[in-house]
Symmetry: D2
């Protein structure tokens, strides 16, 4: 079982990247999680599909195509997912090249430094992934608020309840 991890933030020390790395500890047997860096993905532009599709996009789409499942962790910007994440999903689903998310198992989670734990952006992310006809894992839901106090200085997460949920989510994703 090959899982691709995608973070909605490009920040090196992003809590959502850290979250993805924690998920590695909760993989079922015979499964692997590789985090794909969205940094080199260009802005979506249908014109460049016709002329010269960037290697980064080809690589991103190949990775998704070769994966059995996807794990997404994103912060919330303006009550929604980040433009960075939406842009990557636009590349993954474009009609011109083919929608790679059809029936793809996808699990989602999110951490925010504020009080509302990315509840609103995850609501929206589920809509976007429904539009893409992905197979989104419904439960458990993982909303982490006040990230600065939940993660310690070394980016370590020790909250038992959250870790338990993460284990359950990875189990559900790999079933």
């Amino acid at each position: 079982m090959r899982i691709i991890g995608i973070a909605g933030s490009l920040r090196e020390k992003s809590f959502n990247r850290v979250l993805l790395r924690h998920a590695v500890n909760y993989l079922p047997d015979n499964s692997s999680l590789e985090i794909f860096d969205l940094r080199r993905i260009p802005l979506y532009n249908e014109d460049i599909i016709q002329t010269a599709l960037p290697d980064s996009v080809i690589c991103f789409r190949d990775e998704i195509n070769d994966s059995d499942a996807i794990l997404i962790a994103s912060p919330e910007y303006n009550y929604s997912i980040t433009g960075v994440l939406k842009n990557a999903l636009d590349w993954a689903t474009t009609n011109t090249l083919g929608n790679l998310l059809v029936r793809k198992p996808i699990a989602i989670m999110g951490a925010s430094i504020g009080a509302w734990g990315t509840t609103r952006s995850q609501l929206h992310l589920r809509q976007v992934l429904h539009a893409a006809n992905a197979k989104v894992i419904a439960r458990p839901e993982i909303y982490i608020s006040n990230a600065k106090s939940v993660f310690d200085e070394n980016g370590f997460l020790s909250d038992e309840k959250i870790l338990k949920r993460m284990r359950d989510l990875m189990q559900a994703l790999c079933n």
Copy 2:
């Protein structure tokens, strides 16, 4: 009255770019509309704010800051706005540099080649702009479906009802 126009699509012949250009014909006196090209805006990344903020971002934020109003036209991808547009809005509203959209008058419209006329993405765009505390014009709403038959080969739009609405929208934006 200086208005900045933003298209959610980077495609040269995008119907939504064309829509922005039509809006120029319906500006009230003493107002101007300049279309800002999002092509050079990089993916949002808080780390590069600290190191070297790209000129394109500085320029984008200056344009927004100097404008009196914004006009947005976006296609709908996956029942939502494009990642390209969301990414630009993330740059415009980032806490680190300051949210430039607070109480900024913004008008929105959208065209799609399908049957549903960007109804869903505009619903979401209003949420995002509310989150940014922008002053979004409520009416009229402009949803253009079946764009391929509404625009002629030269990208010309002659539908009287839509053009009337565009005039009303620009009037509302400039009041």
Copy 3:
């Protein structure tokens, strides 16, 4: 396979009620569809749960509990589902009595007299049903616009494409 049909409108000649009745023709073998009338369901009120739960609510919850699947057809009011439908869903999912929609297979469709075919209310209905942890059928989606011209005077629907989708939806619901 016992399916319960729920219409979001109480109007006798509601297009969405008619839609439910058409679905009967597309049931797979060994399945039945019974339309439940929401007319006697009272407004949700937790206080009356404690004192005297109305028979209509007991009956509604029994029907849902005994069903294998649910089919919902709702008009769109104010870009959302009707209060009538939301009120019924609130009764079906209340913590106090137990959420009966957990993992319940649910199919949705909708007809509107306007141009946008309940696209926005179905988007929202999927959110509500996700919150209830129901198992909502993802595809096909059935959006019927301009209902007055799609249904004939006797409420008969002959559009082959829509009927084909209805057959596919019932198949998916019963699988």
Copy 4:
């Protein structure tokens, strides 16, 4: 300035009703707040408009019509507003009798016993009120989580930050 208060919950001791009652303390001079009880409003049904419109609906619509502004407080059920509230809004906006919310100033707030403070239902409520073309106050936003610990046994709310926001909201509503 006559303000009508509407609670999304019918429960006698509902935190959201209590919230409305607290708002009375923060009214600007020369304004009044009267809480309208939705208990007797029937389920929306276009057929009864034609035959015998219930007095409760006539009264509700008269109250809204005579008011200068509306204040809404609602719990969150299934990540959305309650059916009770949506049903009342459907009556207030029906095409058949006329949409009474056009440009009506409306302020919203909400309390939940859970952790997420009605963030999701308020997001949706703003959509519904935009659809109705109401004039919804954008800021401040009031989200109250963990209501059981925020309100004391007598339903008294003493959190200074929340009360400050309530004062600001009432000020914004009456301007």
